[in-house]
């Protein structure tokens, strides 16, 4: 299993073979506040790198969720749709959003590692 990578839109992605698991970062949940609604892409649909692949809403506002890489949606996490507060509780593990069969592994190279992301998150929220 490869290391976890991060996007500028505050998604994390973990690659296992050719299947990537994607969610939103703890930093993103802290900026959003209490998440009360989640919408996920349809299983079997194709999503394009940096395209919209879901929505999360806090009590305050709605935000799009983007996919950091292209691929076919092979699984979605119904548990976070049924209870969106799980996203605040465990964003970078059990509250993953969707799994993709990825199209182009080289897209992973455009993403940040943990140190770079932490720095990015700190700078952009300052």
């Amino acid at each position: 299993m490869s290391e976890v990578k991060y996007s500028k839109e505050h998604e994390w992605i973990k690659l296992d073979g050719d299947v990537a698991t994607i969610g939103i970062t703890k930093h993103a949940t802290e900026m959003l506040g209490d998440i009360v609604f989640a919408e996920l892409p349809e299983k079997g649909s194709n999503v394009e790198k940096d395209g919209t692949a879901g929505v999360v809403e806090s009590t305050k506002a709605a935000s799009d969720v983007y996919t950091p890489v292209s691929g076919e949606v092979v699984d979605t996490n119904q548990a976070i749709v049924d209870d969106p507060s799980k996203i605040n509780q465990d964003p970078e593990d059990s509250a993953w959003f969707f799994k993709l069969k990825i199209k182009d592994p080289s897209e992973m190279d455009t993403l940040m590692n943990k140190d770079d992301y932490d720095k990015f998150a700190k700078e952009t929220s300052a």
Binding site: G33, D34, V36, F37, V55, E57, S58, T59, K60, A61, A62, V81, P84, S85
Partner: protein, 367 residues
Amino acid sequence: METKKTSLYQLHQDCNAKFVEFAGYQMPIQYSEGIVEEHKFTRNHSGIFDVSHMGQLFIYGGEDLIKDLEKIFPLDLKNLKLNHSKYSFLMDKDAGIHDDLIITKTNEGFLIILNAACKDNDFKILKELLKNKYKMVLDENRSLIAIQGPKSSEILNDVINGVKDLNFMSGNWFTFENQKVYITRSGYTGEDGFEISIANDFVDQLTRELINKGSKLIGLGARDTLRLEAGLCLYGHDLDKDKTPVEANLKWAISKERISKGDFIGSDIIIKQLNNGVTKIRVGIKPEGRIIAREKTKIFNQSDVHIGEITSGTFGPSVNGPVAMGYVENEFSKKNTKIFLEVRGKKHPASICSLPFYKKSYVKGVN
């Protein structure tokens, strides 16, 4: 223009508030526990709200002032008892709403609580309408806090003895640290509670004492979810100059006595609408499922015809689901009418429902 800070700014910071600019003020949107927890704490315990950005307008006068104010507000102010409050509106001649407000009869005249974003304009309008006959003070030296929720009476009474005997929508002068504070039993959350007008220099101390007794500061975020669950309007969203009190379904706040005379600003339109009905009206809206329909969401009927728009919509933590209100064409305003809400290009089923979404009994007392 520089954003203003309320006298509780330091305390908000000490409580890890996240700030937003609201009506020219730096206001706390939430604290570290977040909107949902703050909302529930208010419903179950007691929450303190800094509403010092709102206008506290004192108008001094006697019988003449009552007569002049009755030409402006659709209220029976002559028969309003001393220290009693009424919800009302400042309207234009077409009954469009400049602002919604709470007016209280005091021993020296009236105290009117105005929305922060409207207060300066309201002051100008009222000064002109009253032709400079009365002393009017939009008091910047006083802060305003609200304490809301089932434990509020007990907590506030521990600090300021006697407040627990106030009836709903009435007030009086009390003393805190030798300062005169004006307290009314009112609020905007659907909970029992109080609003306290106090000199800026003493509000920090009073608020800290209330926190020491177990209450907590609550931000504007939870104030919004609380008032929406309670079916209460937010000016600039659910009310504005293009809507009348009749369209806003607030005719309960208009005095019947005054309608029969019809001599206040906007009365022609109000009477016409009461007699002939309105084309659009404010309703409660309950989406099916969890989809949140926010302000400006378009509303459609079952034949896919556009019939209105959402003016407030969020997630209601006590309802544990989405809640909204908006304006629809009158023929679709009946309870349980099926409608559709267009969110992100898709139409989601919802129905018209009665307000409030969340109900608790206020302390009424005997008059």
